[in-house]
Symmetry: C2
Subunit: 379 residues, 2 copies
């Protein structure tokens, strides 16, 4: 039997600046039941989802909790049916994208031209394969395209020895998706009342700011440096999930509608290889499997570094699941000050029922002794 548990939301009034914390996290912890244990007697499977960094209003707290719970459950259902991590993580992402409250798929931020262009990527820790789409319009579930790119590439070369793509953008990505059976969705159906009103508000603010710039050229530089909260671009961000399956394979995925009022064709970190997500099974060289899903698109990739290496250095809101030798799980979290706080290690013998605490505004907990059963360890 599996149990889905969600963490309390970090909510704040809309007038406050956007803090660097995830809006909501949900995790799955299996209760002790023989059916959920593998041959070695260990509990199996792990799901962690996030609904994005950035600032969220109190009024939507309930919705974010619900969508995270549903996303977890979708992944759990797939795992229970025997699916691999990469398919379970896709299922979680589809649920997150389908929510009109997240900035991914349905309800994504609108760009400068009033269009929705989405980024998404997925990585399979078993094969180390990666699939991504960037600036794709008219596809409700960009993660399905990323997943399909990954699985098609695993089939080997195309006719006449052509190398299959792993990263497609724009119209080409849309056409490839439709040709591979992924249903298109008219862009106007992907916009929501909330995203449309945000677009109008942001456009008005932009026009005002540019008028002021024109009038007072000597102040223009200062005005360009104005807070990013002005256009609400800090409000919503990338969503993502990481999954460990029964075999110990890890997978990670992210999806994002990108920054509000971005330039058409702008591709964010969610589609950047090694920036949006990273997954790597344990190997002879690496005793830990690692899965990372980031939710910080406010920093240009170059200054942020890759999620492949960011886990230990730079991420604001990075979730990392380490699963060494199929024997234990630990969860680590890297808050805004770039310091690495190990938040818990649990022994494999007795899986704790646990909730991930992830309020980055709160002071980090003190380091925990190894192998203690605590509320931060997960599996």
């Amino acid at each position: 039997m599996w149990r889905v548990m969600e963490t309390p939301l970090n909510c704040a009034e809309e007038q406050q600046p956007p803090p660097a914390f995830p809006a909501s996290w949900s995790t799955v912890t299996p209760q002790e039941s023989p059916a959920d244990r593998n041959d070695k007697g260990n509990a199996v499977g792990f799901v962690l989802v996030h609904a994005g960094a950035g600032y969220h209003s109190e009024s939507k707290a309930k919705e974010y909790k619900h969508v995270c719970k549903r996303a977890c459950q979708r992944a759990v259902d797939r795992l229970k049916a025997g699916a691999l991590a990469v398919d379970a993580v896709t299922a979680a992402l589809v649920e997150l994208e389908d929510s009109p409250f997240t900035n991914a798929g349905m309800g994504s931020n609108l760009n400068l031209s009033g269009e929705i262009e989405c980024d998404a990527s997925i990585m399979d820790g078993k094969s180390l394969r990666y699939g991504a789409v960037g600036a794709v319009s008219g596809i409700n579930n960009p993660v399905l395209v990323a997943n399909r790119l990954l699985s098609e590439a695993q089939k080997g070369k195309l006719s006449a020895g052509r190398i299959p793509p792993c990263f497609l953008v724009g119209r080409g990505a849309h056409d490839w998706a439709v040709n591979h059976g992924i249903p298109p969705c008219p862009s106007e159906k992907m916009a929501t009342k909330f995203s449309l009103s945000a677009y109008k508000r942001n456009k008005h603010k932009m026009e005002l700011a540019e008028k002021v710039d024109t009038g007072f050229n000597h102040h223009s530089k200062k005005r360009r440096q104005a807070s990013e909260t002005e256009n609400g671009s800090g409000l919503l961000d990338t969503v993502g999930a990481i999954v460990v399956d029964r075999e110990g394979n890890v997978a990670a995925a992210v999806s994002s509608g990108g920054l509000a009022m971005k330039h058409p064709g702008r591709v964010g970190q969610a589609a950047h290889h090694g920036c949006g997500c990273w997954a790597e099974n344990t190997s002879t060289l690496n005793p830990y499997s690692t899965a990372v899903s980031t939710s910080d698109s406010h920093i240009p990739p170059a200054s942020r570094g890759c999620s492949r290496t960011v886990a230990g250095h730079r991420g604001r809101s990075v979730s990392t699941c380490q699963y060494p030798n199929n024997s234990r799980l630990s969860h680590t979290h890297f808050p805004a000050d770039h310091t690495h706080y190990p938040m818990g290690h649990t022994p494999s013998s007795k899986p704790p029922s646990a909730i991930l605490k992830c309020n980055l505004n709160a002071p980090p907990p003190p380091p925990l002794p190894p192998h203690s059963s605590n509320t931060f360890g997960l599996f």
Copy 2:
């Protein structure tokens, strides 16, 4: 006084399989002249260009040598005029893109629809900023767009606090470029006699291969695995350059037309952050400045790793220039077997006039003693 020196080309008959080596490299070595020395008495400036990995015919050997020489000279001219590394590397890339013989800009491979879609990226080791375009059509010099994205981002935020883009793709990238004064070029003018005839030949081969697949479905998987040389996708590849300027700043850039017969919208490593190029000035944490420009787009990024980390591990044709504390330069090269062969270290006190040897088909030279003046070290 500066001297441009080219290395001998690695040429082979067209019937042979494509080896993993750069077609041509040119390096710049300054002769000892007080005018070319910095305050500390060291020789200043360094340029290294490559015209791509893959297989090139004997008949074009002369052209590749010439374009590499011209590209070096363009960068040298900029450095002599006091330009920073990032501008000099752009100048070199423009020359490489303008050549109808390279797979970048003019004369790029055509995609499945018979169109040219280019990738390019640039990184400034001083600011760690990065600019890139992917799958952009109708722009003769994609590196100019990448460079402009980089420099615009350095100006700070846009009106109403919007974050400027650093990676644009497709139509959005084209429109942004034109709006920023980069001249468009009709796609039909970017195709050459060579690229058009290659497209026709490849299309015919593809149609034949797919006909065979349809007739013998049980063999189709095997046929999909056919050699990539069948469609000529291994013939030409990414071009690139790395530059060190008088101040010791490093910069790197790459540009590519991508694989022949690629799917429209496919973005290759040349536009992937950390995959196509990497540049990082020396810092308190890092005693070496590093600049990397890769020329291997035959491996999907996920299995290849980032050029940021690839330098020590995986690149096929990676050029790395390390320039520690403005005191010495070394060149390292990483051949196809992923082994790292240090090809030379030179002391700062006496810069040798040297040529970079980079024939990866030849057995790697034995490791050289540190601080020896040799033909592999560069100035």
